[in-house]
């Protein structure tokens, strides 16, 4: 087994000491979709000691073109992603203690899930969970390697590496009403792998003790656009998530999404806190190609999507008809709103 990592140890910035540090690392992978598949595979091959991967979803045909841990058989068996990921990752490297956890990450459980790990790989598919994870990682003092991608475009930023650097909350001055998602504009696998590669490279630099300056970076593999911005000046001295007096607002129930199953109606209601403003017309425009029977008026946007009737009200409530399952409803919201 000592030969296993020889080519990685030969890489001078890592060496034998770096390999020992990688081995001593416990990673929390938030999401077992595209970025989670790609990043977790790299980390397990690199020989981390322990890797926990959490996801609320099952594997579908639409995942297979980019979610590299999964097979057609996994779709046929309707396996949860976390279960199939654990199986595949363990087959790749039996030395790594891999745990797949099928769970919807919320304000109630995020701290317990993340606690005890050394680093967090962001592989979630929506901004809400990303901000929740940002707060949880900052509270626990665990570096959080942010990554997101859609279409042919992706961006990364490592958070919690250096004190003079901003967190995700500092960078997002206002909460976006909606972000582009893989369900509205699609995604190609090369940007998934590129984005995950940058996250994992930064993570390896961090765990091996290689000093580096965190940068907000983006790449578009179709247009060739690329950007790398030093964002230290954007750190906010009074940031509620990362300043000395942090209150970690996204960990509190008040700032998080509320869910309710509407009795006898086969409907789930999702409601967002007042800080998230919804613009109905841009939302309707963005989902035009994705949904059917789309109508909008000054009060709401309604449509059909994946067999569900969806209504988004201006006050930040969404009704997902045709299900009593909160996870299904949240998945639909993440697909349309990001």
């Amino acid at each position: 087994m000592s030969e296993r990592y020889s080519r990685q140890e030969l890489f001078a910035p890592i060496g034998e000491e770096g390999q020992r540090r990688i081995r001593a690392t416990s990673v929390f992978v938030l999401g077992a979709g595209a970025l989670g598949s790609s990043g977790a595979e790299m980390l397990v091959r690199a020989g981390v000691g322990r890797l926990s991967i959490v996801d609320r979803d099952i594997i579908e045909w639409t995942n297979l073109h980019r979610q590299q841990l999964y097979t057609e058989q996994d779709v046929v068996e309707q396996l949860p992603k976390a279960v199939a990921a654990e199986k595949r990752l363990t087959a790749i490297n039996g030395d790594v203690n891999v745990t797949g956890i099928v769970i919807d990450v919320t304000t109630q459980n995020v701290l317990d899930l993340m606690d005890g790990h050394d680093v967090v790989l962001d592989a979630t598919d929506n901004i809400e969970t990303r901000l929740l994870a940002n707060d949880a990682a900052l509270k626990l003092g665990i570096p959080f390697f942010m990554g997101a991608c859609v279409g042919s475009y992706g961006l990364t930023f490592p958070i919690g590496i250096k004190e003079d650097q901003p967190c995700l909350h500092c960078l997002l001055e206002t909460l976006p009403s909606q972000t582009l998602t893989c369900d509205t504009v699609g995604v190609i696998s090369p940007i998934v792998v590129t984005t995950a590669a940058r996250q994992v490279a930064d993570m390896l630099k961090y765990v091996t003790g290689t000093p580096f300056e965190p940068k907000l970076e983006s790449a578009d593999l179709w247009t060739g656009d690329r950007a790398s911005i030093g964002v230290a000046s954007m750190k906010k001295s009074g940031c509620p998530s990362c300043s000395e007096n942090a209150v970690y607002p996204f960990l509190s129930a008040r700032e998080s999404m509320k869910t309710a199953v509407l009795c006898g109606r086969d409907t789930v209601q999702l409601s967002w806190p007042g800080s998230r403003k919804f613009e109905l017309i841009p939302f309707a425009d963005s989902i035009q190609g994705t949904v059917s029977k789309l109508i909008h008026n000054p009060h709401l946007v309604a449509c059909e999507y994946n067999g569900h009737r969806i209504v988004l009200f201006r006050d930040g409530r969404m009704l997902v008809h045709g299900t009593k399952d909160i996870v299904t409803a949240k998945k639909i919201a993440a697909g349309l709103l990001g």
Binding site: G31, G33, A34, L35, G36, D122, A123, T124, D125, N126, I127, G147, A148, C149, V150, G151, Y153, G154, L155, L171, L172, E173, T174, P176, T179, L180, T181, C182, V187, T195, L216, E217, S218, D220, T223, G224, D225, R226, A227, S228, I229, V231, S233, M234, E279, P282, A334, L337, G338
Partner: protein
Amino acid sequence: MKRTIELNGNRYEMPAEVGNVEELLSHLELAERIVIVELNRDILAKDAYDKPINDRDQIEIIHFVGGG
């Protein structure tokens, strides 16, 4: 006057109707997005998006997306 800038590492001919950063973001369909803009290596505050863009300026724009 024709203006050629460097936008996200690529040569970019400025459309005649685009005068400032705010108009450039609209032209690129990024006006509704959360963006971070760097003009000539300095991060631009939101209230400075009316700053005119000149020939040979270097602009980097990163917008936030949801997927993963």
